[in-house]
């Protein structure tokens, strides 16, 4: 890594740490920004790098929420009793039960989502292009509808988790740092992954899967691995959200297909598909746009959002990074005559 890059990374890290203290009023928004970054980076792992545009990654977010909540509750109480009381009974959690349950729950959410990506993927990865998008969308919608009708996990009412034990602002900062940690981890993971032979192979799948098949790449296996890695991070993010939101219900907050489920795609397109920084830049821009429209365009915010999707997709599909790469190729180390190939980056 060059000195410039180290400075860049260090200053971003420093800013991330200071941010919640410098802007205490925006604690929740900043945490949500990290959530957007996580789902955008992980969406791009399959969408941008592997060419499989999923509209169903929200499935892992919603499932992560439920798994984390159920693990935490199940460790201390009977789940059926707890959900049928719908927050009415007296269910106390000690600090150990809360934080221990949360740690196991979030991790368990990641692992469970990883595994479910393998199961779902082994069916859906036979679908290509738009069929894959529609198929995964179908999985996410179906999951939401089924969970909403499943009384054991709270049905349409959803689940209420215990409130953060401690003062409210500390809680906000706590969740901010949880999201930030997963966000940084997913960024570093993606950065490493794209530099490996595996990363090159999934790029090959994106550009010409039939050729990749003919070269003997284990295309299905690689697709499953990639999706399951992405699902791990999304699942964990969902798990954190469950605790941050305290109460969540299946259709509006967990399996929110047309909200977060589509936002993550727009973030990536806005920032630049198939680039490392694109999803991050896109998530920041999108989040800003969303916060501004939600605050100032009373009632019309959704229309503005739909318009943003259409305009991004139709007119600006290369995104910010793609546009920059076109304008300033030298920033991306694109030179036609390079003397030696650098082995260690």
């Amino acid at each position: 890594m060059s000195k410039k890059k180290i400075t860049l990374y260090a200053s971003i890290l420093a800013f991330s740490i200071i941010a919640p203290f410098a802007f205490p009023d925006f604690g929740t928004q900043l945490a949500t920004l990290w959530l957007m970054i996580i789902v955008a980076i992980t969406w791009d792992m399959t969408g941008g790098q592997m060419g499989y545009n999923s509209l169903g990654n929200i499935f892992f977010y919603g499932t992560g929420m439920y798994v984390a909540a159920l693990i935490t509750i199940g460790l201390t109480y009977d789940i059926g009793d707890y959900t049928s009381a719908a927050g009415g009974g007296i269910y106390e959690f000690t600090d150990l039960e809360y934080f221990g349950g949360m740690a196991l729950g979030i991790l368990g959410a990641g692992v469970f989502c990883s595994l479910s990506a393998i199961v779902i993927g082994s069916l859906t990865f036979g679908l290509r292009g738009p069929y894959f998008a529609i198929g995964t969308l179908g999985v996410a919608i179906a999951a939401g509808e089924l969970v909403a009708n499943w009384d054991w996990v709270g049905g349409g009412q959803g689940i209420a988790l215990p409130v953060y034990p401690g003062d409210l602002d500390t809680g906000k900062t706590f969740f901010y740092f949880l999201f930030a940690a997963v966000g940084i981890a997913s960024f570093l993971f993606a950065r490493w992954l794209y530099g490996t032979r595996f990363g090159a192979a999934i790029n090959a799948i994106r550009d010409d899967e039939e050729k990749a098949d003919a070269m003997g790449i284990h295309t299905l296996r690689y697709k499953l691995y990639t999706w399951s890695m992405a699902a791990f991070f999304v699942g964990m993010a969902g798990g954190i959200s469950a605790f941050q939101l305290i109460h969540f219900e299946p259709l509006e907050s967990a399996y929110q297909t047309i909200n977060l489920g589509i936002f993550m795609v727009v973030c990536v397109l806005l920032g630049g598909k198939g680039t490392l920084w694109g999803p991050v830049v896109g998530a920041i821009l999108f989040h800003l746009f969303k916060e501004i429209t939600w605050n100032y365009l009373l009632g019309w915010q959704w229309v503005a959002l739909g318009a943003l999707i259409v305009v991004t997709v139709v007119y600006f599909q290369d995104g910010v990074m793609g546009w920059l790469e076109h304008k300033r190729p030298e920033w991306f180390g694109r030179k036609v005559e390079k003397k030696v190939v650098s082995v260690s980056q």
Binding site: Y131, A133, I134, I141, I258
Partner: protein, 303 residues
């Protein structure tokens, strides 16, 4: 679970219930088939997968509902919705669709998804989020000791759907434009070489699709209810039908439409009305799975 088994048991104890379900299913299926035919047309001719299909349907329904609110006769809604939605389809084509035709399929899918969100929200702002319907005021016929009730409005609706479909088929077979559309669907470049203005054909096809959806919506508002956010489930059904039937296979689309209508009615009878959306999506997944297995046998993928 007991309830589900009880519902299944009911089907065997009273076979007449099956007839009622199938009749209901076929009537709603005829309207699904209309929207699906429009989708197959656009998909086949310009390779655009329109996720705003259902929102065109709902918009057509609101056109008709608005007319009735302003004192016009309900049956006028169908032709007016056809014309109005033709215009809206043309505008949407010129603003958005024309720019995504040459791009990859995910682009059109996502662009129309954005469009669907916009349309649903605009209708929500204009007409509110309550469910709406138009009452034709016709009586209901009863058969089999009242086991089966058949509102005349529904019969009229199905009749209009059938004549609309028939009109479109005759148009596609015999008119110059219909021939140009079919030629473009087969090979756009060849059609251009032969002097067909494909841009015009695309614009016409998309507007026609939008108009068909609009008319279907105007019928739906007379026999069922509409709501601004119902669009997505009509889009999903249209996809299920087209995926099951394949492109350019009109009898297949009609058969699949009727079949899906009936299956959905069975689904909501057995599992309860809360599962209606889930049943529609499950059918989509089943159809995709079936096609997947079918293609795998030929070592092909579904793309």
């Amino acid at each position: 679970m007991d309830q589900v088994l009880g519902n299944i048991d009911l089907l065997f104890q009273f076979p007449i219930v099956n007839l009622k379900i199938i009749l209901d299913g076929i009537m709603i299926g005829a309207l699904f088939a209309l929207a699906a035919y429009g989708l197959a047309l656009v998909w086949g001719v310009m390779n655009v997968k329109n996720l705003a299909q259902g929102d065109f349907v709902i918009a057509g329904g609101y056109v008709s509902w608005w007319l009735v609110q302003h004192g016009f006769p309900p049956l006028l809604g169908v032709p007016v919705a056809f014309v109005v939605m033709w215009g809206i389809g043309w505008v949407v084509y010129k603003l958005v669709i024309t720019r995504v035709i040459e791009r990859d399929l995910f682009t059109s899918l996502l662009a129309t998804f954005g469009l669907a969100i916009m349309m649903a929200q605009i209708m929500n702002l204009m007409f509110g989020s309550d469910t709406q319907s138009v009452d034709l005021g016709y009586p209901t016929l009863h058969f089999f000791d009242g086991f089966i009730d058949l509102p005349i409005a529904k019969l009229i609706g199905v009749g209009m759907a059938m004549s609309l479909a028939g009109g479109v088929i005759i148009f596609m077979k015999s008119s110059r434009m219909g021939q140009a559309i079919r030629a473009t669907a087969q090979d756009a470049r060849a059609a251009r070489v032969l002097g067909i203005d494909t841009e015009k054909v695309y614009a016409f096809t998309f507007s026609l699709n939008s108009a068909i959806c609009g008319a279907a919506g105007a019928i739906i508002v007379m026999v069922w209810v509409i709501q601004p956010f119902y669009g997505i489930s009509y889009s999903i059904r249209a996809f299920v039908i087209v995926t099951a039937a394949g492109l350019g296979n009109l009898p297949g689309v009609i058969a699949a439409g009727l079949g899906i209508g009936a299956l959905e009615q069975y689904g909501s009878h057995i599992f309860g009305i809360g599962y209606q959306q889930a049943v529609a999506v499950m059918l989509l997944l089943l159809v995709l799975l079936y096609r997947l297995i079918q293609q795998r046998r030929n070592r092909q993928v579904l793309k």
